[in-house]
């Protein structure tokens, strides 16, 4: 009997636990997704006045307004030009460094890797301000080049750490086997190492793109008043336009990130590295 009571107790306590977990998840969902949901609705409403539960009407006019306002179109265009350039530049600069950090045990390797974090852990605005004085001297203020350099800074940590881990995860044996098969060092890197680290590099590129695409602080400091991207345009937008315009813009700003994370998810879960290779 005692045993059975125990079992019942367990079952009921299980049920209570599950109820609270469910409640917590629901609460978090409302907390996280609620504002996004509200934003998505706002982008399509004529007006939505307190205390109405649902919007007063539906419209696409805000979308048209956004695409008919030259400054907004330009901001969108700027964002979609700078972010990919930043990602490519970042890859060119950081991937060799990531490879070196993964494959060679040079003096100062740890310092280099930790240093990447250090740059991100200080208040960025201070860093940007000092860069700005340098940019004034170099005539980079208000230019696309200046903005690209600023955005590049935020991507470095992603482009070194994630690919370094990806390179380190490629078993050395696989590279040696390719050398043994007659491939030059460069060919081994291209055909084996880079190919096998590709999912990690792709994830790094996605994270870098999102970071660059989303960067507002430095971009505003260096780009304004002549060069605006979507996030910096948001500052002006929030102050001078109806909230629905901001909602449309937010959706436009979020869309590429959501799309890319969706794509990267497959790559992350793919787990090709372990396949067919018994790491001992």
């Amino acid at each position: 009997m005692a045993k059975r009571d125990n079992g019942l107790n367990l079952q009921s306590s299980n049920l209570i636990t599950r109820f609270f977990i469910g409640l917590f998840v629901a609460f978090m969902s409302v907390f996280i997704l609620g504002p996004l949901f509200w934003l998505a609705l706002q982008a399509f409403t004529t007006t939505w006045t307190f205390p109405n539960i649902k919007p007063d009407g539906w419209t696409l006019i805000w979308w048209r307004r956004v695409f008919e306002t030259p400054s907004m179109v330009e901001a969108i265009r700027n964002s979609f030009i700078t972010a990919p350039i930043v990602v490519l530049l970042s890859a060119v600069i950081c991937l060799p460094a990531a490879y070196a950090a993964a494959r060679y045990n040079y003096i100062g390797r740890r310092v280099f890797l930790i240093g990447m974090f250090a740059a991100n852990s200080f208040p960025k605005l201070g860093l940007f301000a000092s860069i700005a004085t340098l940019f004034y001297a170099l005539n980079l203020m208000g230019t696309m080049v200046g903005v690209i350099i600023i955005q590049l800074l935020g991507t470095i940590i992603y482009m070194t750490w994630i690919p370094a881990a990806a390179f380190a995860a490629v078993p050395k044996n696989l590279e040696e086997a390719a050398r043994d098969a007659g491939a030059s060092k460069f060919r081994v890197f291209r055909g084996i190492t880079l190919r096998m680290a590709a999912p990690g590099i792709f994830v790094a590129m996605v994270m870098s793109f999102i970071s660059a695409f989303d960067e507002a602080q430095g971009t505003y400091l260096v780009g304004a008043p002549s060069f605006f991207t979507m996030p910096t345009e948001m500052y002006a937008l929030v102050l001078t336009y109806p909230v629905q315009i901001a909602a449309v813009f937010s959706i436009l700003l979020a869309a590429p990130s959501v799309l890319l994370i969706g794509l990267a998810r497959k790559q992350i879960i793919g787990g090709q590295l372990a396949e067919g290779f018994q790491i001992k």
Partner: protein
């Protein structure tokens, strides 16, 4: 000189790794078409030696001649050698076909020629049905054969095998090693195989180099290694050995400053006395499958014997005869009796 051999020649090879002398003035000659094992415990330098032959390590001093050419300073991609790695090192993002075709693709061979050669070699290792599978989708034994095919397709002057069977289960290991031996004989391909498994070395090799601490202790045929182990180390490593301090005379262990090595299979036990046998008591009987290991105590010494017929019981008395003894002094074989 080296042109006559056309196999592999290692001359005065030395290698330092991490500040430690791993290989110490090593010399080895492998004839063309011969299969040689590097046998020894882990840390004896056998894999380091293989990696120097393959070109992954460059020796501090010494010369490596492959097929009559000095390759000491060449990178692995420039050497006429092909290696099968311990964990196979197949490229997981390529199919079996592509794994095997890769070395040919690098040699810029025509598509039709590649197709034909890969087809041929996959037929040899009996893997045609898996040519479109990924390495992750096939078994360990099959992966091993893909690795072998990838090496063979290069038609190397020398095939290097690094513990190729250690990741297979015991049954499969015996089958695969016989397959490898048959293939090696058929293709007449010079082969160096690294192993720590004496059974494997004894059954597969033309000659075995027993390594210890960066040096070759003895380089001989399996039979000679077993019958005439040149050092106490080799005698211990190959087969089983009773090691008794003393000397040997008149079929008995006598006082002395040598070491007497007696193989358990060189001891016979009988109920009746025969010339050269002495009274013995059975202390312990251990069944070992197709034979029994019995612990015998005699007036002069105690030792083990392998017996498969007329197995005695514990406490039985009889007569034990030592048919052969290996006598070592300072670790070196001085005589057999």
């Amino acid at each position: 000189m080296s042109n006559e051999i056309e196999g592999l020649e290692l001359i005065g090879l030395s290698k330092v790794l991490g500040g430690r002398l791993i290989i110490d003035n090593l010399n080895l000659t492998v004839k063309k078409g011969e299969m040689v094992s590097l046998l020894g415990p882990s840390g004896c330098g056998k894999t380091t030696t293989l990696r120097m032959i393959a070109g992954f390590l460059i020796p501090e001093s010494g010369t490596i001649n492959l097929a009559g050419k000095d390759v000491t300073k060449l990178g692995p991609e420039k050497r006429p050698s092909a290696m099968v790695f311990q964990n196979y090192a197949l490229w997981p993002h390529m199919t079996v076909f592509k794994n095997v075709a890769y070395p040919l693709k690098i040699r810029k061979m025509g598509k039709a020629e590649i197709e034909k050669r890969v087809h041929d070699v996959l037929t040899v290792v009996n893997l045609m049905h898996h040519k479109d599978s990924r390495p992750g989708q096939i078994s360990g034994g099959e992966q091993q054969r893909v690795a072998l095919a990838r090496a063979l397709v290069q038609e190397p002057d020398i095939l290097l095998l690094d513990e190729p069977l250690s990741n297979l289960d015991a049954k499969l290991r015996v089958k695969v090693r016989e397959d490898i031996r048959a293939l090696q004989r058929r293709l007449q391909i010079t082969t160096v195989i690294v192993t720590h498994d004496q059974d494997e070395a004894l059954s597969i090799s033309d000659r075995i180099a027993v390594m210890n601490d960066g040096r070759i202790e003895q380089f001989s045929t399996p039979q000679e290694l077993y019958d005439q182990p040149a050092t106490e180390y080799v005698a211990n490593f190959i087969g089983s050995l009773n090691r008794i301090e003393g000397s040997f005379g008149d079929g008995q262990v006598i006082a002395g400053n040598e070491v007497v090595g007696i193989r358990p299979e060189d001891v016979t036990f009988s109920k009746t006395q025969v010339p050269g046998s002495y009274p013995a008591t059975v202390d312990l009987v251990v069944p070992r499958g197709h034979f029994y290991e019995i612990y015998l105590k005699r007036a002069d010494a105690s030792f083990r014997a392998f017996i498969s017929v007329d197995v005695p019981k514990v406490g039985d008395t009889g007569f034990a005869k030592i048919n052969k003894a290996l006598i070592y002094k300072d670790g070196k074989l001085v005589r057999t009796a």
